[in-house]
């Protein structure tokens, strides 16, 4: 076994991890990976780790984890087999062997791939091709609507802006004050503001009248001529003449 010693002189960073080293060690057994002696492999690895430790090489954690795992595997393989041992050491050894086979297969495949006739190394493309041209002809996509709309947009942007406000039925504040004054003259009790609105008018006129009438009562209250009350927010508003 001491004949393997030269292997260990290879520097640490020459190995891409413990599995890489294990595969290299397995190759030294010079047998098909399927017939490899896992026990011999484990011993080689552990010896390698020992030497690295003796040389005071810093070992990365995964190397030590692998060493611990292999040490466990070794003892499990050597001890008398307990039927209910879990995990089964034979299975662990088989898994290791399968992993080595797979790494070996891919290493081999990579080498065969690299050995193929490769463009730029073994075969060459034309050095100075004329090249193919695509002449792009723009086909403009615009319809009549786009055209008309564009003109409308330009015109709208540059023509003087004209605002036409349609006439709407409105009750002015003056009219509202007059109405409220006149109607209050005949009432003494609290009266809802709604009672002051024209009853049979157009809805939009009624809404205008409501706003104007409310303002009118505020104005009359400010002049000290009416009192206003509202029991709750958004509740009905009542008005009473101050006698």
């Amino acid at each position: 076994m001491d004949g393997d010693a030269p292997v260990f002189t290879i520097e640490l960073d020459g190995w891409e991890g413990p599995l890489d080293l294990l595969l290299a060690l397995a190759r030294t057994q010079k047998v098909d990976l399927r017939r490899i002696s896992i026990l011999a492999l484990v011993e080689q690895y552990l010896r390698w780790i020992d030497r690295a430790a003796a040389l005071r090489l810093e070992l990365a954690a995964d190397w030590l984890v692998m060493a611990a795992w292999l040490a466990y595997l070794k003892s499990a393989l050597l001890l008398p087999r307990e039927p209910d041992m879990d995990p089964d050491p034979e299975e662990m050894a088989l898994r290791l062997q399968l992993r080595l086979e797979r790494l070996d297969a891919m290493r081999e495949a990579g080498a065969r791939l690299m050995a193929r006739d490769r463009i730029g190394r073994d075969v060459f493309l034309r050095g100075d091709p004329e090249g193919l041209n695509i002449v792009r002809k723009a086909r403009w996509d615009a319809g009549l609507y786009d055209l008309i709309e564009a003109y409308g947009r330009v015109s709208a942007r540059t023509r003087p802006v004209l605002h036409v406000v349609a006439t709407r039925p409105v009750m002015t504040l003056d009219v509202a004050i007059e109405r409220v004054e006149a109607m209050l003259g005949t009432r003494i009790d609290w009266t809802s503001i709604a009672a002051f609105l024209p009853a049979d008018a157009d809805e939009r006129y009624r809404r205008s009248a409501l706003a104007s009438t409310f303002l009118a009562t505020l104005e009359l209250a400010r002049q000290g001529r009416v009192a206003i009350r509202q029991d709750a927010p958004f509740g009905p508003i009542d008005v009473r003449r101050i006698a």
């Binding site: 403009w140 615009a142 009549l144």
Partner: protein
Amino acid sequence: MTDPFVRAVEAVLFASETPMTVPMIAAYVGDGDVRAALATIEADHAGRGFGLVRRGEHWHFETAPDLAHFLRRDRDESRRLSRAAIETLAIIAYHEPATRADIESIRGVQISKGTIDVLLAAGWVRPAGRREVPGRPLQYTTTQAFLDHFGLNTRRDLPGIEDLRAAGLLDPIDDAFASVLESGDDSD
């Protein structure tokens, strides 16, 4: 099977990034009659899609000159006209003949040179003489191709300002939107 030396010369010329002289070729392929190989290759490719060509002392492969039209391909690309281009086209159509200054005064912004070029390239407008004012600016009008493309018989088929107003196309966007909302209320 071609002669090995001829094959080597052929491969070196094919892979070269520049035309090569006989000594340049010899530096790759070694001893042999390069000139004889070139003559063989030239004869072998006569009448094919590409061939060996000599320019002065340099040799190279090139595609046959009579096939040049196959090496280019036209592709129609449907593209939207830019907002500036469609507005410029509309102004020319409504106001023709229109000068660049007319267009800019109506659009309210300057137009870039490319904008009218696009319309000229599309064949929709054409120059139509100069206006006899200081500076003699070029005027533009629309073309028959313009009428054809937009499905118009004459320019008079373009809707007038009153039509546009009726269609709501003169309303600023917000007003148009509001009028849709209002009409929605009425239908309730």
